[in-house]
Amino acid sequence: MAEPMRIRATMAGDVADVKVLMNHPMETGLRKDAKTGQLVPAHFIQDVTATINGAAVLNADFGTAISKNPYLGFKVKGPKKGDKVVVNWVDNKGDKNSAEATIG
């Protein structure tokens, strides 16, 4: 799961609007494979953290009911243009990914 993840951060007044699109199948563990009839094992993002200039702003836990290729939008008051946003996720199999963006 090293597929890239997309992240965009823009300032609107004094609030930074951050949008993240992660690449992940988000399998619930309840779906059957159409060909084999076997259950597809659960595989989903569990933990997402976001920091701005190294300070934590969001710590999210996901369940299986977050849609495939999760979209996450959040807003943070206070940062300036040029500050660095970093988003990390870890899934139930221990896979992880990270992306960063500069607030513009």
Partner: protein
């Protein structure tokens, strides 16, 4: 400094000590909250999910706005936006009442993060989408019904 560290290690006051340690900046919130809330995410009904989140009897609030479609044609992708205007909002949880596992996600906010979360969720059938907000040690909730034409949990 050292005495406090000892206290944290001994866990004399349990969660309270951890909260103090977080407030004192000894533990980064990311470390303290890293554990995925298994009990809440495996609960099969809203009551148990709330219990798992440590929420008891949240008050209905008009200051929480849930933006979601009235009718979702495809239950596997339902856009949901939660905005909490309650001052001091520290966390938002999103639940879909009739999903097999109602809890969708929890979002702990810190460092200037506003009471706003936008996401896309799966819904198995027509149900209330509920937001639970913690602010200033109290819990608040709001819900909005979303009609689902094709359920989104079977794939």
């Amino acid at each position: 400094m050292n005495a406090l560290r000892r206290n944290v290690l001994k866990g004399t006051a349990g969660a309270g000590t951890v909260a103090i340690a977080v407030a004192a900046g000894l533990l980064k919130p990311t470390q303290a909250m890293a554990a995925w809330n298994k009990a809440a995410f495996e609960a099969k009904n809203v009551g148990d999910a709330m219990k798992g989140l440590g929420v008891a009897g949240p008050a209905d609030s008009k200051e929480i706005a849930i933006k979601a479609p009235d009718i979702a044609e495809n239950g596997s992708v339902v856009p949901v936006e939660v905005t909490s205007s309650i001052a001091g909002t520290t966390s938002i949880a999103i639940l879909a009442d009739k999903n097999g596992v109602p809890l969708v996600g929890t979002y702990n906010l810190s460092g200037g993060a506003e009471g706003y979360i936008s996401t896309r969720i799966k819904m198995v059938q027509t149900s209330l989408v509920r937001a639970v907000v913690n602010a200033g040690g109290k819990s608040y909730t709001a819900a909005k019904e979303v009609k689902v034409t094709i359920g989104g949990c079977g794939g």
